[in-house]
């Protein structure tokens, strides 16, 4: 009965496959070209906000990105010198993180992965605090409540559900869609292209859509999940995933800080206004290794790296600022100097990070300590003392 000819099932696969990952596809939102030229987009435009100096804002973005990159290179060096056990580099993803991070308001809440050093920077987390986890002295040195910035989450995708639940909490607290700009809040869940395959992430889409929760799903598609290319996870542009769940998705040039800022700001606005979730795919590239223990030469071509170098997120802003005379030599020099200081701060601070005591491990297992564990701690303390004794 193979005479049956296959009827039209809607989007032909060819069409679907087509734009998959090529050049970001026809739908990429871009406001600043790799050459540093501002371009228009029908739906999105860069708006620093009323009464805010646009040039000032863009110089701020530049500064943020340079300092973020410095944090990254410094931490990488610290790992090489054995001061950190491992480091997850963000090289190349500065615009995706600063653009989205700067679109946040204080009352918004962020759920990061393990790579959001730039977003942490925007949330005023002392980068030194980020090192603790990678040095192995703690598992996250900051209080999420202080800066509305959650702890780094290592289990891929888990935080997207936490973000959705947190957003459901905001709805119950009546801080969504009140029209009060200083009150209305939203959540951003960061995750990667690989994470988009996890059940948890898709369940987060389900819950967010079902409750119309104020959450922005911000996916940094850096083309790689360790050694696996994006094609293994999705054969269509990732942002289109959202259409399957009934909320909007948009792909933005993740190396364009202006576009990322504009798109994230709009998505956050929708969420705060009570219009529900949005999927933002920041199309970017992981210029470094997956982590300092990874060896990308085993699975990807240096050519790709070269083509992406031409799209560097910082270079294009510098080109824009200089070409249009919006920043002086002094400005760039100052940022450099600031970066130097930051590097020093990290080098010295890292070595000075307090070492945990072996006994501390018993202290925060529970909010209400159990007699069992207290006894186990006492026993271990006595055991450790027995050596002190021996040495004395």
């Amino acid at each position: 009965m193979s005479e049956t000819t296959t009827p039209d099932f809607g989007p032909a696969l060819g069409e679907v496959f087509g734009p998959a990952q090529a050049e970001g596809g026809r739908d990429l939102v871009q406001l600043l070209t790799p050459e540093g030229e501002r371009v228009e987009h029908p739906d999105f435009s860069f708006d620093a906000g009323t009464g805010v100096d646009e040039d000032e804002t863009i110089r701020g973005f530049y500064r943020d990105m340079v300092l973020t990159r410095r944090i990254d290179t410094e931490a990488t060096a610290l790992q090489r010198h054995g001061e950190l056990g491992i480091w997850a580099q963000l090289l190349g993803q500065e615009a995706a993180q600063i653009g989205s991070g700067r679109a946040l308001r204080p009352q918004d809440f962020v759920f990061p992965t393990y790579r959001e050093h730039g977003v942490a920077w925007c949330r005023d987390i002392d980068p030194l605090r980020l090192l603790g986890l990678f040095r192995g002295v703690d598992q996250g040195g900051w209080d999420p409540k202080d800066n509305n910035f959650g702890l780094y989450t290592i289990v891929i995708g888990a935080q997207t559900l936490h973000a959705t639940g947190y957003a459901m909490g905001m709805q119950r607290d009546g801080v969504v869609g009140t029209g009060d700009a200083d009150r209305d809040a939203a959540v951003v869940a960061y995750f990667g292209d690989g994470a988009s395959s996890q059940g948890d992430v898709n369940e987060a889409f389900i819950f967010a859509a079902s409750y119309n929760a104020p959450v922005v799903f911000f996916c940094q598609n850096n083309q790689w999940a360790i050694s696996e290319p994006i094609e293994r996870q999705s054969r269509i542009p990732l942002y289109q995933r959202a259409l399957g769940f009934g909320f909007p998705g948009v792909r933005v040039d993740g190396n364009d800080v202006l576009a990322t800022y504009a798109v994230t700001k709009a998505a956050l606005q929708r969420a705060r206004e009570g219009q529900g979730p949005t999927f933002v795919e920041a199309y970017t590239y992981r210029m470094g290794a997956h982590t300092t223990t990874d060896d990308p030469t085993r699975y990807r071509l240096s050519e790709d790296l070269e083509t992406w170098k031409l799209k560097d997120p910082i270079a294009r802003v510098k080109a824009y600022l200089t070409r249009n005379g919006l920043a002086s030599e002094d400005f760039f020099a100052d940022v450099e100097e600031e970066a130097e200081k930051l590097g020093e701060h990290l080098r010295e601070g890292c070595r000075a990070l307090p070492e945990p005591s072996p006994l501390s491990v018993f202290d925060n297992v529970y909010a209400e300590q159990t007699p069992e564990l207290a006894a186990q701690k006492a026993g271990f303390a006595a055991y450790l003392d027995s050596f002190e004794g021996a040495q004395a």
Binding site: V155, G165, G169, M170, Y366
Partner: protein, 325 residues
């Protein structure tokens, strides 16, 4: 004073907790209009609204994962898992997130989440509806695990679990939901949540049980008494942490102990209790701690579940073996 079933006790306890604290939420599959497949949340959505009694999409990981976010926002979610066998899709969120976030954050983030799980067999159900997953949670630091065995404990323990700032896996013996009624006297203040209790005094052998097996052990003790054998029965109530005090006192007295549970014997709670009793009561033991548990097979088709489950005869058989040692 009124006579209530376990189902009613839990329902009343949940209602009380929601009245006392507006941050308490109930969430899960079919907990709203339907009141849960066992009606434990019956009437709650009608009285507290859809924002506080939340019917969720059909995804257990989603239920626990969003509960984590709600807890971070200051809420106290009480998650219902419809049947024991369906908690596993949420296992990752429970052991890697719920259990670890307080530790990960050095105490800065609390996880006052209660995971209600109707557990155990004996209701003639199909596969996955009669599991006893307690050991898989008790082995995980960061979680607390308790099980109620009667209506009055159900009423108090669920409130205490909700009030606890740590995540609590709350195991409800589903077979008992509508079985026996008991007097609830609100004026009698409850024992602490994480305490075991001697529910029958005896001198020859100590029976250790929790949840559905407490009733079985009480019946066994009654029967044994007829044969002049005096069994002490302890309702463990808390599985993590264990409250070894009453257990050690009892075994030092009787010199013999039998642990009883429906969960598979291999690596079940009985293994931990036996190991600890052996260590703490070594010189008092006149026979090794024996275990009566579900066999090390998957839970069987319901027509043979009564043979598979520990019952009075198997408990008394173990008692005989213990005394013959």
């Amino acid at each position: 004073m009124s006579k209530i079933t376990l189902a009613k006790g839990l329902n009343a306890g949940l209602r009380k907790a929601m009245e006392d604290d507006p941050k308490v939420l109930v969430m899960g599959e079919d907990v709203g209009k339907l009141g849960g497949v066992f009606r434990i949340t019956d009437g709650l959505q009608k009285d507290f609204g859809e924002d506080r009694v939340i019917d969720t999409p059909l995804a257990e990981s989603g239920i626990l994962g969003t509960a984590v976010g709600l807890a971070m926002r200051g809420y106290r979610p009480v998650c219902e898992i419809q049947f024991d066998g369906f908690v596993y899709p949420a296992y990752d969120q429970i052991v890697s997130q719920v259990a670890k976030i307080h530790f990960r954050s050095q105490g800065k983030v609390k996880m006052p989440i209660v995971v209600r799980i109707p557990f155990g067999g004996g209701i003639g159900a199909v596969e996955h509806h009669s599991e006893s997953p307690e050991a898989q949670f008790a082995h995980t630091p960061g979680l607390k695990v308790v099980s109620c065995s009667n209506p009055v404990d159900g009423y108090w323990m669920i409130q205490q679990a909700i009030a606890c700032d740590d995540p609590v896996i709350f195991l409800e013996p589903k077979r008992q939901y509508h079985a026996d009624k008991a007097e609830l006297d609100e004026s009698v203040s409850p024992a602490p949540l994480f305490s075991s209790r001697v529910v029958r005094e005896g001198s020859d052998v100590t029976l250790l049980a929790y949840g559905p097996m407490v009733k079985t052990c009480m019946a066994s003790a009654e029967a044994a008494a007829g044969d002049g054998v005096s069994l002490e029965v302890i309702d463990l109530r808390t599985l993590s942490p264990l409250d070894m005090g009453p257990v050690v006192d009892s075994v030092r007295k009787t010199g013999r102990a039998v642990v009883v549970h429906e969960a598979h014997t291999n690596l079940g709670m009985g293994a931990e209790v036996a190991a600890r009793v052996a260590e703490e009561c070594f010189y008092s033991l006149e026979s090794p701690v024996l275990r009566v548990g579900g066999f090390d097979t998957p839970y069987p088709p319901s027509r043979i579940e009564e043979e598979w489950l520990p019952d009075l005869d198997r408990v008394l058989d173990a008692v005989d073996r213990s005394m013959a040692f």
